[in-house]
Amino acid sequence: METLKTGIKEAILIIAIAIPLALAINMLRKDGIPLFPVPKPEPIEVSAIPSKPIKPELISIEIASQKFHEKKALFIDARSCEDYRAGHISGAINLPFHEFSHYFPNVMPLLEKAEAIIAYCDGTDCSLGHDLTNLLSEMGFEHIFYLGNGLTEWIGHGLPLEKEDANKQS
C-alpha cells in the first residue's frame, strides 16, 4: 500500500511536469499541431446532394459555349489557385482537384443549384477536369460534363476569359 501511495505521489508530480512541458514543446516546434483541431469537412457524406450518379460526359466546345451564353451551366476550373488566377473561363469558379476537401464545402451550394456542371483543365494531358467530374459524379451530382483541353479550346474559340478575379474563387 505504501509503495502505491509513493507511486501516486510521484505520478502526480511527473504528470504535472510532463503536460506543460509537452504543450510548450508543441507550441515551439515548427511541426506543432493545434490543441483542438477544427474537424475536416467530410465531402463524401453529403446527404443533401441529389442521388443517382451518372457517368460524366465529354462536352464539345460548341455545346459548352452555347450553355455558357444561355447561362445554363456552372463552369468549374479544376486547376490550382495560381493557374486559376492567371486566367479562367469567365464566371468559372475554382475547385482545385488536389485540394478538393478544402474547397468543396464552399462550392457545394453552387453545385447543388447548377443546372449543369462543366469542369475543365488545360492541355490535352491534363486530366483534372475529367477526374473532378468523376468524383462529383460518384458523390451523386448529375448533369456533369468535362471540357477536353478546356482553356486552350475556350481561348481558341475566342470565348471570354477572366483574370485575377479573387471574388469568384471559392
Binding site: 509503495t3 507511486g7 502526480i12 511527473i14 509537452a22 499541431i33 474537424p39
Partner: protein, 148 residues
C-alpha cells in the same frame, strides 16, 4: 542460510533492475516516432474511433512526452514507481483500445511502437505485448526491495 537469503535477494534485485531498464527502454523507443510525428500519431488515434476529432491532438501531444519522460526516469531509477504507475495506466488504456478495435473489426495501424505506414494492422499480438509489458510494469511498481 543467511548467504542463501542474500543470494536470493540479489537475484531478485537484479531481475528488478533488468525489468525496470527494459520496461523504461521499451517506452523510450516507443515514444520517439510519436514524438517526432505528432500529426501522424493524431491521425492514428483518430482511426481508433474512440475520441472525437477535436480531442485527438491532446493525447498526440502529451502521450509521447509522458512515455519518454517516464522511460528516462525508469532507466535512471528516479521516481520509478510513479513512472511505472503512469505507464501501467496507459497500458491498461492501450489494451482496452486495442481490444475494442479488434472487437469492432477495424483494420488500422496500432501506432504502438512505430507510425510507419508499412506497419502491420492491430492484432492479438499487440494485446500480448501490452499484457507482458503490464506484468513488467506491475513488478516494477510493487517491488519492495531496496532502492536500486
Amino acid at each position: 542460510m543467511q548467504t542463501n537469503n542474500l543470494n536470493k535477494k540479489n537475484i531478485l534485485k537484479a531481475i528488478f533492475i533488468l525489468t525496470r531498464i527494459m520496461f523504461g527502454g521499451t517506452f523510450i523507443w516507443a515514444s520517439l516516432d510519436k514524438f517526432l510525428h505528432p500529426q501522424v500519431f493524431a491521425d492514428i488515434i483518430l482511426n481508433y474511433k474512440i475520441l472525437p476529432a477535436q480531442l485527438v491532438n491532446l493525447p498526440a501531444i502529451i502521450l509521447p512526452l509522458l512515455e519518454l519522460l517516464c522511460g528516462v526516469l525508469l532507466l535512471c531509477g528516479i521516481y520509478f514507481r510513479g513512472s511505472a504507475l503512469i505507464l501501467n495506466t496507459l497500458l491498461i488504456i492501450f489494451i482496452g483500445a486495442i481490444g475494442s478495435v479488434l472487437a469492432r473489426g477495424i483494420d488500422i495501424r496500432c501506432g504502438c511502437f512505430t507510425l510507419s505506414q508499412s506497419a502491420d494492422s492491430v492484432a492479438l499480438s499487440d494485446l500480448t505485448i501490452d499484457g507482458l509489458l503490464l506484468l513488467a510494469g506491475i513488478l516494477v511498481l510493487f517491488y519492495r526491495g531496496e532502492k536500486p
